[in-house]
């Protein structure tokens, strides 16, 4: 790595030379191992696995034959720590130091795939060793994630070896501003942060706006709960975002850019910071980039834990060091943004698409997708689903393919109930929507949105009223308080939902909630408040019977709402073995040995662990 800093990339020819050298150096290995260093795998102790693998390779004297690459998120977080062994394309998951030592001996030396450490398909009851046969991988199309999981996130050389900074070179030396903006417009790329505004049109408006000082900002304040797509891009391929920002800055006429990252992502900040230093070190950031005469630099700004800062005008205030409250639009940021200057704000995933569009052309990009939704979308798949993780799909495939083929279906063979798309601004869809095409227009028509890309699958044990309450609690907590509809309206909505889940609501409260939801969405100042009622409105629309059960019968059909459920012990069935009492986290269960036990409802936290451990089916949930 130190060699790279002494090297300066002053021209497109230098860039090509560096790429060719890298490719020469990395060919001829018998195997390449891509080992996941994503945040999910790290918390599953992937570092121990990496060390064990390094040691085993060194010990067997294989260092010259086997290339190990520490990558960003490979995607299949549920199977972490994981790795892919090329050229075979074998996926190994749930790794431990013992398992990797075995893989080194049997696969890398012995040449036989260690099938029992590969992916196990629970439905087919068989192992699927090769990624080409795994629906999780083979149904995906990776454009924004093209390098995530395939390159060393910490190496600018690896990035350059994968056509990195080639798009920048093309734009600066050949295409110029107008052609680049036209190509991005023609590609049909739309903002991936949620709003879906055409990126080329946005850049054009930034370009056409008069002004000596302009800014470009990357919005990396990925706040939606259940969404971690942008995080995986920043951690796995930071240079793709940096390169796109330089191109964007050049196109609109900005010499300065900011990347606003949420403070909850320390690893992303660290890797981004390192990537910026590398780019600056070789001269790809700073003065006279690639000899073109264009100067540009970037600065990271760290958020401080406020969801509303993902809203672009609140984000601008936050970069200015102020409270993250939204501004009235118009004027729009492209007219008057950061410090009153024309400012263009793009989301991480949008930017990660840019270089692919320029390298491979608008026509290629728009060959993926349907209607006005071109290209792909990255989703964070989570909830009650087998293959939780990060995926990228061509727009237009069905929700069913995402949940059942890529996602591997519901956990524990439970029944699918709903999928929540788009986080707190999105909606909950039902089984009837499983064949809806996943694109901007179709999801919006169904009442949900693509949003930033969080997809939470929920099984039959989910209460939809409680889910709506959950999102409203989130919004209420994160409402900045600037405008009345959001500050007070969401508070009243939350109270209504709390009354429902507590069994204290009346039937007319459903209508009151609907009326209030519509008022808030029509009158709130920014997108946070305007979209906040969506989870409530869609759950009322599609799961009205559950709301009625809560308010009329005071029952929670899914047995989730704590106030509406009670655990008791059937004295007829209880043998007094004491298993439940020992497992109770709050010591709510008492009883003499061999005598029927009892649960103290005042202490019970309704966690259900007693029911789970009882061998005599004596714990009753009512």
């Amino acid at each position: 790595m130190s060699a790279i800093y002494s090297l300066k990339i002053k021209s497109p020819a230098d860039l090509v030379e560096l790429r060719d050298n890298f490719l020469k150096r990395t060919t001829g290995f018998r195997h390449t191992i891509y080992i996941c260093g994503g945040a999910g795998c790290i918390s599953s102790h992937s570092e121990d696995v990496v060390q064990a693998l390094k040691k085993a390779i060194a010990l067997r004297g294989l260092a010259q034959e086997i290339r190990m690459v520490s990558t960003g998120c490979i995607g299949l977080c549920a199977e972490g720590p994981c790795m892919i062994v090329d050229p075979d394309g074998v996926f190994y998951g749930q790794l431990t130091p013992e398992k990797v030592r075995m893989i080194v001996d049997r696969h890398l030396i012995g040449g036989r795939v260690v099938t029992e450490y590969t992916y196990f398909d629970r439905q087919k009851q068989e192992y699927i060793p090769y990624t080409k046969d795994l629906p999780f991988f083979n149904k995906q199309v990776k454009i924004a994630l093209r390098n995530v999981g395939r390159i060393d996130y910490s190496s600018i050389e690896d990035y350059i070896g994968h056509d990195g900074y080639a798009a920048l070179s093309k734009v600066l030396t050949d295409w110029g501003r107008d052609k680049t903006i036209q190509e991005v417009t023609d590609s049909g790329l739309r903002g991936r942060g949620g709003a879906g505004f055409p990126t080329g049109v946005k850049w054009k408006s930034g370009h056409d706006q008069p002004g000596d000082q302009k800014y470009i900002i990357c919005n990396a304040d990925e706040g939606d709960p259940g969404a971690f797509m942008d995080r995986s891009i920043l951690e796995g391929d930071p240079h793709s975002v940096i390169e796109a920002l330089i191109i964007g800055g050049y196109c609109i006429g900005a010499n300065k850019g900011y990347i606003y990252v949420r403070a909850e992502y320390p690893l992303a900040i660290e890797r981004l910071q390192e990537a910026l230093e590398q780019a600056r070190g070789v001269g790809l950031l700073g003065e006279n980039i690639l000899g073109s005469g264009f100067d540009f630099d970037l600065e990271i700004r760290i958020g401080a834990g406020a969801f509303v800062c993902g809203e672009e005008t609140a984000l601008i205030n936050s970069i200015e060091g102020k409270r993250g409250e939204p501004r009235q639009k118009p004027p729009f940021p492209f007219q008057s943004g950061l410090w009153g200057c024309p400012t263009i704000i793009n989301n991480v995933e949008t930017l990660a698409n840019i270089c692919a569009v320029i390298n491979r052309g608008a026509e290629w990009f728009s060959s993926y997708g349907v209607g006005r939704s071109k290209g792909t979308k990255v989703f964070a798949l989570a909830g009650d689903i087998v293959n939780s993780g990060i995926i990228e799909i061509p727009m237009g495939i069905s929700m069913r393919e995402i949940i059942y083929d890529i996602g591997g279906g519901m956990k524990d063979n439970k029944k699918f109930k709903s999928v929540q798309s788009g986080g707190p601004s999105g909606g909950c869809l039902t089984e009837d929507h499983l064949d809806v095409s996943v694109d901007y227009e179709s999801l919006a028509a169904a009442g949900a949105i693509i949003g930033s890309g969080g997809l939470i699958a929920m099984d039959e044990n989910t209460c939809m009223v409680d889910t709506a309450r959950y999102f409203m609690e989130f919004i209420q907590d994160e409402s900045c308080g600037h405008c009345v509809p959001c500050r007070i309206g969401t508070k009243r909505m939350l109270e209504l939902l709390q009354r429902m889940t507590n069994g204290e609501a009346e039937e007319e409260d459903i209508e009151n909630l609907e009326t209030l939801a519509k008022t808030v969405s029509e009158t709130a100042m920014c997108a946070l408040g305007q979209t906040a009622p969506n989870p409530v409105l869609t759950t009322i629309k599609y799961f009205r019977d559950e709301y009625i059960a809560h308010v009329r019968d005071k029952k929670c059909p899914a047995h989730i709402c704590a106030a509406l459920k009670e655990y008791t012990i059937d004295p007829e069935k209880c043998k007094g073995c004491g298993m439940c009492a020992r497992g109770c986290p709050v010591n709510a269960i008492s009883g003499e040995k061999a005598q029927p036990h009892a649960i103290d409802p005042a202490v019970c936290v309704k966690c259900g662990s007693c029911k789970a451990v009882c061998r005599f089916d004596a714990v009753v949930l009512s």
């Binding site: 945040a39 999910g40 549920a78």
Partner: protein, 173 residues
Amino acid sequence: MGEVNQTAVTSTEDILLQRIRQVAAMNKGKEGNLIQVLHMVQGVYGYLPLEVQEIVSIELGIPLAEVSGVASFYSFFSTQPRGRHTIRICLGTACYVRGGVTIVDTLEKNLGVGIGQTTKDGMFSFEVARCIGSCGLAPAMSIDAVVYPHVKPDEVSGILQSWYKKDEEEGVI
């Protein structure tokens, strides 16, 4: 003995306050840097009591009302002393759906304090995180930088004890 200790505490306090002044002064005049300065200052002092906010205000030349307004707006800034360790229980959608709330209830009973509070012995600050990006490992919680995947209610007590044990071994308590 008591007097010696007193002096030691004061001088540590003085050093800290001096460092805060330096951090702030280095950033004077840099446009829009207040949030970044508060991050650094909290890193030095642990939290942001009014007297620390005053120093930032003076050094940066920004009215105290504005400093205070920003410090109170963002959830990462705390005006209260914090525990030695921070427990962040994730209540992102995935963790919520996978039973994160039962972990919160169990933690509250175990710690004897609610969300947003610090235990009486100063050991843990207890917070809710909106998503720690470990959705594939739900329900998840973190203590400082350690992430605990697939947490079950009956594991909570053991996890907390292991931190007391660790601190004891390291001579912190």
